[in-house]
Subunit: 198 residues, 2 copies
């Protein structure tokens, strides 16, 4: 390589990002040399600022720029419903669906003993604290439909049921636009089991 | 999107990079939230610093962190040979080949009237200034083997020939590991025309 040191260093740092190999990192770094310096600085400063600019809401643990976050303080949302998800990113598709207008609680992962993630590593205590304050009629368990998400949902169901509130799980079934022929048998099985009258 | 503003802004800035769509930009931004804050700041600062850290050598117009650049000042390289390339990135494969130990001159592009790039927009005057200082026995035209690179090489050959020095063009031919069947006819034609005795 005959590139100057700062460029090689930038290529090295970029290629540590997921899905960015050395070729892509080089292409990106060279592109940055051609960009207006002001835009490059804007990008670099936005990246450098992100650890301080994005915090976790102390109430629901969603990503936030204010604490508590906008979803926790929005007066137009229902206070008696809490939807429990694994990660902040899981909130996006639920919000996009437009089907939910309650509050959220982000666990920060799913129970996975093999990865060393136990219930006490998740924000379950904080969920119980929120529920203890009263006023919650239903907790929707929206952890992923993976082995870890399912165990986490079962674990939470066991903990929450005795608290005398409605505990629900998001529906299993065939995804929209899917084809029986190409859908795995577990999904098909659950779609049949969960069939509804029309 | 229920992501906080600084995160959405970062996604917007990242998705302006070539080959980075909104999905990849979101994935990268979310990854940055999980990285150690120190590493994110290191990356951001390296990007923000790049416009000032990487300059163009005032002699050969290669990327540089010192002026003149390391290739211009390396005492182990021959002073009587100049290899003319379009862009700084073209120097990398030549250096990797290990076949060249002279100096370079970066034009900053190729002549392309359709894109508004005329000879006076390239560092041709500066090349002539270097040649006028004497001591150059050969100029190797290593512009790309594209229509623009070819026109630029012809133009330069016309300008340099009267200066009474050797002007050469990198060889046309079949690339290593290539298959006649899958090589375009212009390349094959040139490989036949340029055949050498064995």
């Amino acid at each position: 390589m005959s590139y100057p040191k700062p460029l090689r260093r930038l290529v090295g740092l970029l290629s540590r990002l997921p899905g960015i190999g050395e070729k892509t990192a080089t292409r990106l770094a060279l592109h940055m040399l051609k960009m207006p310096p002001g835009s490059v600085r804007e990008l670099g400063e936005a990246i450098a600022a992100i650890p301080d600019a994005v915090i976790n809401c102390s109430k629901c643990f969603n990503f936030a720029d204010v604490d508590p976050c906008a979803l926790c303080t929005d007066p137009a949302r229902r206070d008696d419903l809490i939807c429990v998800v694994e990660d902040p990113t899981d909130i996006v598709p639920i919000e996009k669906s437009g089907e939910y207008k309650g509050r959220y609680h982000v666990l920060g992962g799913a129970i996975s003993p093999i990865d060393g993630v136990m219930p006490e590593d998740l924000h379950i205590r904080e969920l119980l604290d929120r529920l203890a304050q009263g006023g919650i009629g239903e907790v929707i368990l929206a952890t992923n439909l993976t082995a870890e998400g399912e165990s986490t949902a079962s674990y939470l169901a066991g903990v929450l049921k005795p608290l005398n509130m409605r505990v629900t799980r998001i529906a299993y079934g065939m995804p929209m636009g899917s084809d029986l022929e190409y859908t795995d048998e577990i999904t098909v099985g659950r779609a049949i089991k969960g069939r509804r009258e029309v």
